[in-house]
């Protein structure tokens, strides 16, 4: 049984599948009058957020509360963190407060790994720098499975700023563990050439979105920050959108059954047009709902028993 969830690489196929199965049961709670389960009664979950991410924090908060855990939100703004307290001192504080789990979002890659050295409780990586965001990958996998019935054998295109994307890293790791094929698509400046060796050997790389689209079951659009053009990753937002943005005509090149995903928040008009984002193929709203179920499953898996 895993103690922390820091990386998509922490999950083998059996554990990942168990999380998705558990999430499916957790999802039924959302439809009940009493949206609460007693499994984590008396447990304390701390949301330690060094970056503003209201949607992720709320998702974890809802997940923990539906499992009856006590939730403490510890955000960088207006706290001792802003006054320059070190991560280690913060960790010792959380330790003294009896945190059973720390859900951490941090701008520095690897910060959750460091935190895990300093607290006894479980650490859940809610996004670290340009490294990983494993619960996002789990909710994406959950969404694919509920829309398409399976993950093994699916062909998934991940399109955009792979270089800076924690979502892409976790998805490549998890999807390959679960037997899907991933093709990374984007301008060469935003796709590390060694990503197949670094993450998953079967991963393909393409610089041409139009040739990839007809053969995929899922196309996952990554958020692309306009500021990247200041560092010459691409010449202009317009050129990026023309070459790698998903618009209506491109969407119609997809197979009939294919779905369009986006981890949010979207840059409408940049990587995705409103026509695509609001189409029936789009799973963007489902992804948000599935996020709560998947995070419930993760918290239950980590805290629901005596796993020390």
């Amino acid at each position: 049984m895993i103690r922390h969830l820091l990386s998509g690489a922490d999950l083998d196929a059996a554990t990942a599948t168990q999380i998705l199965d558990t999430a499916a049961e957790m999802a039924t709670v959302a439809g009940r009058e009493v949206k609460k389960l007693p499994a984590l009664r008396g447990r304390t979950v701390v949301n330690l957020f060094y970056e503003d991410s209201t949607r992720t924090r709320i998702s974890f908060e809802a997940a923990a509360k539906r499992l009856s855990a006590d939730v403490i939100n510890f955000s960088a703004k207006g706290s001792s963190v802003a006054k320059g307290e070190s991560l280690k001192d913060t960790a010792l504080t959380l330790q003294a407060m009896g945190a059973d789990a720390v859900v951490v979002r941090h701008p520095a890659s690897g910060a959750p790994h460091r935190l895990a050295n300093w607290v006894d409780g479980s650490v859940v990586n809610a996004g670290d720098g340009t490294h990983e965001h494993p619960t996002q990958a789990l909710l994406d996998a959950y969404t694919m499975r509920s829309r398409l019935g399976r993950i093994a054998g699916l062909h998934v295109a991940v399109v955009g700023d792979v270089l800076h994307s924690r979502v892409a890293r976790s998805n490549v790791l998890l999807l390959s563990t679960l037997g899907a094929k991933v093709t990374l698509v984007g301008p060469p400046t935003l796709i590390p050439v060694d990503i197949p060796q670094a993450l998953a050997p079967g991963t393909d790389v393409s610089y041409d979105l139009d040739t990839v689209l007809p053969g995929v079951d899922v196309v996952m659009m990554l958020r692309v920050q306009r500021e990247r053009m200041n560092d010459s990753y691409f010449p202009s937002a317009r050129e990026y959108a023309r070459r790698y943005g998903l618009d209506g005509p491109r969407m119609r090149r997809l197979p009939e059954h294919a779905i369009v995903m986006h981890p949010g928040p979207m840059n409408r008009g940049m990587e995705i047009t409103p026509e695509v984002a609001d189409s029936p193929r789009s799973t963007i709203v489902e992804q948000v709902a599935n996020g709560v179920s998947v995070r419930m499953a993760v918290l239950y898996l980590l805290l629901g028993g005596n796993n020390r």
């Binding site: 070190s86 941090h106 520095a108 890659s109 910060a111 720098g129 590390p192 060694d194």
Partner: protein, 443 residues
Amino acid sequence: MTAYLIKNVSVVGAAPTDLLIRDGVVAETGGGLTAPDATVLDATGLVALPGLVDLHTHLREPGREDAETVESGSRAAALGGYTAVCAMANTSPVADTAGVVEQVWRLGREAGLVDVQPIGAVTVGLAGERLAELGAMADSAARVRIFSDDGHCVADPMLMRRALEYVKAFDGVIAQHAEEPRLTEGAQMHEGEVSTRLGLTGWPAVAEEAIIARDVLLAEHVGSRLHICHVSTAGSVAVLRHAKARGVKVTAEVTPHHLLLTDEVVSGRSELASPALANNWSPAGPYDPVFKVNPPLRTASDVAALRAALAEGVIDIIATDHAPHALEDKECEWAYARPGMLGLETALSIALDVLGPQWDLIAERMSRAPARIAGLDGHGVDPAPGVPANLTLVDPAARRVVEPAELASRSRNTPYARMTLPGRIVATFLRGELTVLDGKAVK
């Protein structure tokens, strides 16, 4: 002054003999020496080397005395077998004036454990904008001959050219920290598979190689001496080999850590160039900033190229880049940690692992050649009658486990914690006075 009679010592690997040290010099050598007034040291099984010379040490004083002082760094150096260290200029204030270099020089004399030779900054405040008063530092009591903005690259090619030319007047040398700044903005570790996996901004090998290529051409153009700090990539080795073949007056150093550790240790894997040392050792976990260093740890093939280049002489010397850091600057997130590692107390052990018991080669790479580059009289000379008694005694058969808390440095950021290393410094003499005995500092 106490006289010492060292019995049965192998001088730089030769057959055992005796050494009599008196009045600061090696008075006599040969079998069966006697000296009733001398303190006798039985050195059976030990090897005598000329005192080691480190061309690249950060002593942190003035400015960060919590991390290291001239005295604590000198003690660490003596324990590592060193009799001279060159103190880098990136202190606070920066060693860019005669006043600061003289202060460091004087502190070194007061500590009296090793000769501390200050290095002067190339540019004012290491800012890379205008030359510091290089001549004033050269003429000062500290007699500065090496100039470096280490920690920063002299990136402006015009400024680099002028610096190379200007120091010719007093036989100075520019020691370049080769790092193209635009190619390494925000860089956290070697750009490659591991940085991709860990999501850390890459420090590409080309950022080092491009500057070395430019600077050897500049040095050739103006006919000046150039020294390259902490060479870390196979590509840099190729550039240096080419430059040396053309007769460019370039020397280069490699650090012990670049000869042993690979970028995989950043991901928590115990991948070292030496399988023997990897035995029973592993990093505490991924993203441990004790492995953060600039230039970063590179790949196994880079390490192999550096080892070969050191043996071959394309790389002239081992220099430690001893970089002490306070605990709070390492016990934090990787991106916020300061780069640098301790090196003085472990360098000879790593050299033994890399070069084996080739004592003449070790003496060349760690003592004679660095002393020549730095222009340090009385250092880097093999023990022989009449030469200053700057030497160290090594027990090549000993093994030791590195315990950070036992190091003499004020800081604890050794990357070799709990690693079992070969060799041990038994004694060190500075001008005939013991600074280390039985592996312990005498003062």
